[in-house]
Assembly symmetry: C2
Homo-oligomer: 331 residues x 2
């Protein structure tokens, strides 16, 4: 991938989990990287995520809802990795308007800015498997009906479709990756707002049992963050991706109880317990889910490379070392 | 339908085309009807639409984006016919944020108000066949993938899904009707913002040729407004409708050139001409479209009753008599 050398790259959500890992790789490839992040405490941004590359990137703290700031930052960029979002399903139900403002309205505003001020930019949008809702069949491919089960899913879908529409109607090159469960160093582990794996890892390191909801039989697939970064990078460079939606996914399908078992085996004294489903989560639970990712494999040659066990080991090792940067033991 | 007697009914878009016809029927059934309309000049509201029932309804001029006004108006209502919307596909592309505010954000706000202040209300939402995009197959049933081709389609879909979500998660009873081309007395005929049939009828009455885009071979189905009103009324009363989406449609499928021919035959001196597709319309054109409406026929017993020719006659007769209330001949 020579093309990122000296490329001007903007990453929204750049201090977040995936954005910071993407930034690290892009810096290594010689790109000129600007990171936008709102640093809203409940979201994924954490300045420590980029401490090792802090002198090699430009950081601009602002919200993607700040249309004037975004218009300035979008100028002259070659690539936009559009990763910022409100990701909590529960928060989207208690404060739906904020979710709409960030995940739909701000996306539309960003695209309008690109249309008016930088139509040559290439955009990769981070979408989510959440918008398939409860699957009709498994594995879920891109032809599966979309059927969001929460406000977050509806707004993310609107945000994704604005991108495809601007590609199709205005030629603003854009594509969307529908991410499944992504994990790895840099994820939010303070609580379960970003992924339940986060709080599991915190609990494990703090010597508390992991809590598995229900019988733990629900199936999921997981991508280690390095593999997701690779997918973002190949999608941005490929003309074949323009106007397309691609699932990410993994061939390693595991039950949540099985995943908990894999984790606790890696931590002396680790344990998990099955607890009944909290009512507010049960109502938006989607049952089993795993992706068919043949489309991106065939079109862009992407497939995940990191075995789940290895990815979990790396993640645990990272948080064992750096946990003070991710949570306050007193809270 | 006894159940509307003394029922407290709120209609958003109540001075508009479908809202005003619905209001007339509800008043005749003894309902206590409140009409909300923004009267934005570019939209469908027209006070003349309800002149004959003005003393029998409550009119409240305000915008559905006015959350406090809506919260007051929703209190104590039994039924909400939620018909207000920005309907122009072209306007949604030139001013996407306004389309989002009305068709998505205001809908979410209305549903939040219902959840907090009137969870027992029943809502019927007017959705659109536009969100199927360019059909994969015909006739289009409710299982057809949704694939909006413009900003309006994306935002209308979000608005529809919020309704279904609030039904499924919170038990706020709601359903959505996906309307196809609706026509009849009360539609906007000043221009093509609401339906191309509007400007066709104006042109016909003004003695100008109708303009048919392209070769006029595109197939469409049409519902006379009385049939749509009937569908709204049965959907509101039926528990089987809760949480469901239903297509409306017609078994009379016609090409646009054929439709123009039907219209001009009813007006002495009427004529039409084929003109090439304007670029801004071509890019969001969806080709042939007609609906499969078996789902609502089987679940609610609805089917359209007004033959196209008869509906067109009634529409032409209405505007021949009342055109001064719908357009200024000098503009």
């Amino acid at each position: 991938m020579k093309s990122y050398e000296n490329a001007k790259v903007l990453i929204t959500g750049g201090l977040g989990f995936i954005g910071s890992n993407l930034a690290r790789t892009l810096v290594a490839k010689g790109a000129d990287v600007t990171l936008v992040d709102s640093l809203i405490p409940q979201y994924g941004g954490n300045a420590f995520n980029i401490e090792d590359i802090r002198q090699r990137v430009t950081v601009n703290v602002c919200d993607v809802r700040d249309a004037f700031a975004m218009a300035y930052l979008i100028q002259g960029k070659d690539y936009l990795f559009n990763l910022a979002g409100q990701t909590s399903h529960l928060d989207s139900m208690t404060d739906p308007q904020t979710d709409l403002d960030i995940n739909a309205a701000a996306q539309l505003s960003i695209l309008e800015t690109c249309r008016k001020a930088n139509p040559g930019i290439k955009i990769v949008f981070a979408s989510t498997r959440q918008l398939y809702g409860r699957p009709d069949y498994l594995p879920v491919d891109e032809d599966h009906p979309v059927r969001p089960v929460d406000v977050n899913g509806i707004n993310k879908l609107a945000g994704e479709w604005y991108h495809l529409l601007y590609n199709n109607v205005y030629g603003i090159r854009a594509c969307a990756l529908r991410l499944t469960n992504t994990y790895g160093p840099g994820m939010r582990v303070k609580d379960a707002r970003q992924t339940f794996l986060g709080i599991w890892i915190r609990n494990l390191i703090e010597g508390k049992p992991l809590q598995v909801f229900g019988d733990g039989a629900q199936l999921r697939d997981f991508n280690y963050v390095d593999d997701v970064v690779e997918a973002l990078l190949v999608a941005a460079l490929s003309e074949m991706a323009d106007g397309q939606v691609f699932n990410l996914g993994s061939s390693e399908i595991v039950g949540l109880k099985q995943l908990a078992q894999m984790l606790v085996e890696q931590q002396p004294g680790g344990s998990y317990q099955l607890v009944s489903f909290p009512a507010d989560r049960k109502v938006i639970d989607i049952g089993d889910y795993y992706s068919d990712f043949n489309k991106i494999r065939q079109a862009l040659g992407w497939e995940p490379k990191t075995p789940l066990k290895q990815g979990l080991q790396k993640s645990l090792a990272y948080y064992a070392q750096h946990h003070k940067q991710y949570w306050d033991a007193d809270k």
